[in-house]
Point group: C2
Chain length 353, copies 2
């Protein structure tokens, strides 16, 4: 089959690799083989692509996909051949203490696409034609019947960006009447706006300088756009909210600058919900946080735990997070997909094998 | 009148100072003069006493007191002469946006005992015979009638340590059924145990090596004592809680070691509630926090906002946080009070003018 392999900085290739098979490892009976219907490129894939995160040796890449089940192991009971399934950006069993606590990204038996799972078995990357899915009954969620093709982009966002934006909002404590600022206008930030809206935020400020992204932000529920950054951005936010800042700030980037922007835009006693992968380790100014009682919550989003809540709204059309995709390419053109995102010609690219 | 002045490392003196008067400053009409009935020494006072925090010039000290109102300014309407009052460890108006948000420590017009208030007027320290109280209607809470003398210690804890322990528990998200670990067995840590108990925690681990403090911890509701620290302490906590750690961890010390202990004792998706004044700025390991979704909430405790909730339980005897005082001295012996706490001969010392 064809799958994407990253070789190093700005070197992503589509290659012929072995077809996945149901493994004979410890949890072999729990595997499924899924034929990928749609995958995509994540902002976090760009860390390797740009050489910020080192690529020691060529490796499979991609962690967001939806598809159709082609085979299941003997221990799989919930997921059936033929099911249309959503896979979160990681593997989880949904039965361990962490999964039951709602934190399936910390699954005691989980793993990551394109890396060894905790049994030492290799797991495929998602940017390919097929993927072996360990712990299929936990990892995968089947839709009721085959979804309308128009829903493919929105269903795909449940694999990562919509669930991650939702996690930012939940972590920031967004509830009915909250005032919200969203730092970052990538796919996750935009989904954070949509999540804040459905959680009942009364006012949502999108910090964005790109008119195309501003348009989606407004469509998703943003009430205000702020283009300023740094001190000027903080000043604008404080002016808008009683001189003190917003209740909840969603940090959806992962740089030191964006975390600083988020913390300083939060009112005393408010909360930063952060989901941007910390790149270079932003510094948390503990004495400022202590003095202002600004909380910092969040992390790698347990999107699997959110699929049941969000899926019905995607299926009914109540939310349409798939709007974050502004380019669609065949899988064979994956290198162009990376380049388009790297050069900011696209916000998020959907790939079809 | 007599009041306490700190001159430098291990040099605390009781001195004759000017009697406070209702000021003629901007908010003069809002002042009250309170005769101190009881004050005490705080763990955070020891940072100056030990020379960890520099004392640039002699200054008044102490920030916890209860007393009787002797005079009020023309704008004071709620507080009356003769009222028995509790003062939080800071000044606040309880009308600004931050106070109304429950974060009175960030009052836009507040200030600190022993320092200039935001009008530039000097505010007395609490370890003295009398204190001028700015924003008296906001800062002070009067008890219904004169309290029984036996309640003095517990009422005094509402000025700081009980409210601060409560803030740690609230910040950590303690609720019915939570599993809780408390790092720090000083007065605040012990009050954190009591707070966690009344908020419905199912299990409360006190990390303590001192038998006298362990006894109070058990009396306040601790279900388990752990004497180990560092890696061994983390290991013990994980063993006790499904191998993953506790839901809520209260950090009540403020050192790098204690924060590390707290973070590593928290389960994925759990929360550290911290109230220990960060001494030297503990490092928050953002990548570990991100990976495990451990949140960090808390800060300088807005105890004024908690007095209405906690006071009825103190008055009824439902809670008895005053047990944290294990030494009582006349104000004239304030130097001995500091020495006893510094040398760990006492957990917390109550002073009577």
């Amino acid at each position: 089959m064809l799958a994407t392999v990253i070789y190093g900085e700005r070197d992503v290739r589509i290659e012929e690799v072995s077809d996945p098979i149901l493994t004979a490892g410890t949890n072999s009976g729990g595997d499924a083989i899924v034929r990928v219907v749609a995958a995509c490129v994540c902002g976090s894939d760009l860390w390797s692509y740009r050489g910020v995160a080192e690529v020691a040796e060529p490796k499979r890449i991609g962690h967001e996909f939806i598809g159709i089940v082609e085979a299941v192991g003997s221990d799989v009971s919930k997921i059936k051949v033929g099911d249309f399934v959503i896979a979160p950006f990681y593997v989880c069993d949904m039965t361990c203490a962490n999964c039951l606590n709602g934190v399936s990204t910390s699954c005691l038996h989980g793993g990551w696409w394109g890396a060894d799972d905790r049994n030492g078995d290799f797991a495929d990357g998602a940017q390919g034609e097929r993927v072996r899915v360990p712990h299929a009954d936990g990892t995968l969620v089947a839709t009721p019947g085959q979804p309308d093709p128009s829903l493919i982009p929105s269903l795909l966002t449940l694999a990562d960006v919509m669930g991650t934006g939702h996690h930012a909002a939940v972590s920031a404590g967004v509830t009915t009447g909250s005032t919200v600022v969203v730092v970052g206008d990538g796919a996750v930030g935009l989904c954070g706006i949509l999540a804040a809206k459905r959680l009942g935020a009364s006012r949502i400020v999108a910090m964005s300088r790109h008119s195309d992204r501003q348009a989606i932000a407004l469509q998703f529920g943003a009430t205000d756009i702020v283009e300023e950054r740094g001190d000027a951005g903080v000043e604008r936010i404080k002016e808008m909210f009683d001189g003190i800042g917003a209740d909840c700030v969603l940090e959806c980037v992962g740089t030191e600058e964006s975390m600083d922007q988020a913390i300083r835009s939060t009112r005393p006693g408010g909360t930063v919900g952060y989901v941007g992968v910390p790149n270079g380790g932003p510094v948390l100014p503990i004495r400022d946080l202590f003095g202002s009682n600004v909380g910092v919550n969040g992390g790698v989003a347990p999107v699997r735990n959110y699929i049941e809540e969000l899926l019905p709204e995607v299926l009914s059309g109540a939310i349409n997070p798939g709007l974050v995709f502004d380019l669609e390419l065949p899988l064979a053109e994956v290198a162009e997909a990376y380049a388009a995102m790297d050069e900011r010609r696209a916000t998020k690219v959907l790939l079809r094998p």
